[in-house]
């Protein structure tokens, strides 16, 4: 390795910076180390893909919504409030 080569990223380090990577918060140097490692390591590639799958699944969980009673109660409260 030449002196200018940054040290290789280890799997152990990569899993701890996955979110920084996805949030575009890694320095250009660490981003390069991250991507260089990914290109070489099938396990970490799988890991990253599973994080992405997890995030997408979280975003598709069914939404919550207020019960009709709670909504009606609030609308009544709003009407009262507008007459304050």
């Amino acid at each position: 390795m030449s002196e200018t080569h940054p040290p290789e990223m280890l799997c152990r380090e990569l899993v701890e910076v996955v979110t920084d990577y996805l949030e575009h918060r890694l320095s250009p140097r660490d981003r390069a180390r991250f991507e260089a490692h990914l290109a070489e390591c099938e396990y970490c590639e799988t890991y990253l893909e599973q994080m992405r799958q997890t995030i997408r699944a979280l975003g598709r969980l069914p939404e919550e919504s207020l019960s009709v009673d709670a909504r009606d109660g609030l609308l009544t409260a709003f009407r009262d409030w507008t007459r304050r």
Partner: protein, 222 residues
């Protein structure tokens, strides 16, 4: 509101500068349509934030109702130093947290940001002769197409993993990943630094991923 990837018409109320002012005026002037729409639009995120701290759905609804009543009481004094949504969500969080303190369900939270998110034992120890710091027990692809992750059994795994998170991690995960709120607004709602927000998000996501991995038993010795 909804997640960016899944929201269609429901993102209409997302506050661009202009609409934000209009919404605020609408409520102040007693426009019931605006109020009803906001109540509907934000009910998912408000309920989910409340459910971080209270177990029962009925109590969560009470928290949300109380939050709206607080909004109506204080909206005349709201100075727009944050967006309307940020302010409203902050009110929910505060009410839910104090409700939890009363019910002693959650201890006031340390940020839980120390230590590794993934168990060190998953990796070859630093003194290994070869491949130190590389996987010892590596992840293998999950045996389901991605769409099947939301089928009932795996969805239950995800929902249980979320429920088991420390409160602050769960608040961040709800805002960022379940509801698609941006990082900056999440920091403002929860009073977190950008770095802490990201660490909490990372830990929460990691735990949910790990729960799925555990459920699928999807590892192999390297």
């Amino acid at each position: 509101m909804g997640h960016p990837s899944s929201s269609g018409a429901s993102s209409q109320l997302d506050h661009a500068e202009g609409t934000e002012g209009a919404l605020l005026e609408g409520i102040r002037e007693g426009d019931e349509r605006v109020f009803a729409e906001l109540m509907q639009e934000w009910s998912s995120v408000m309920l989910r934030l409340a459910l971080v701290h209270v177990e029962s759905r009925a109590v969560a609804e009470e928290v949300v109702q109380e939050a709206w009543l607080t909004v109506l009481r204080d909206i005349g004094r709201f100075e727009r130093r944050s967006s309307l949504r940020t302010w409203v969500l902050g009110i929910v969080v505060n009410l839910a947290r104090s409700r939890a303190r009363v019910e002693r369900r959650t201890v006031p939270l340390p940020a839980d940001v120390a230590g590794a998110a993934v168990e060190p034992a998953r990796f070859r120890p630093p003194d290994s002769r070869r491949w130190a710091g590389h996987w010892a027990l590596g992840p293998v692809p999950w045996p389901l197409p991605e769409d099947a992750l939301l089928a009932s059994e795996t969805r239950r795994v995800i929902v249980d993993a979320i429920a088991a998170l420390p409160a602050l991690q769960r608040e961040v995960l709800v805002l960022r990943d379940l509801e698609g709120v941006g990082a900056a607004e999440t920091c403002n709602v929860l009073g977190l630094s950008d770095t802490n927000q990201r660490v909490l998000l990372h830990r929460a996501r990691t735990r949910v991923r790990n729960a799925l991995e555990w459920y699928f038993d999807a590892t192999e010795p390297t």
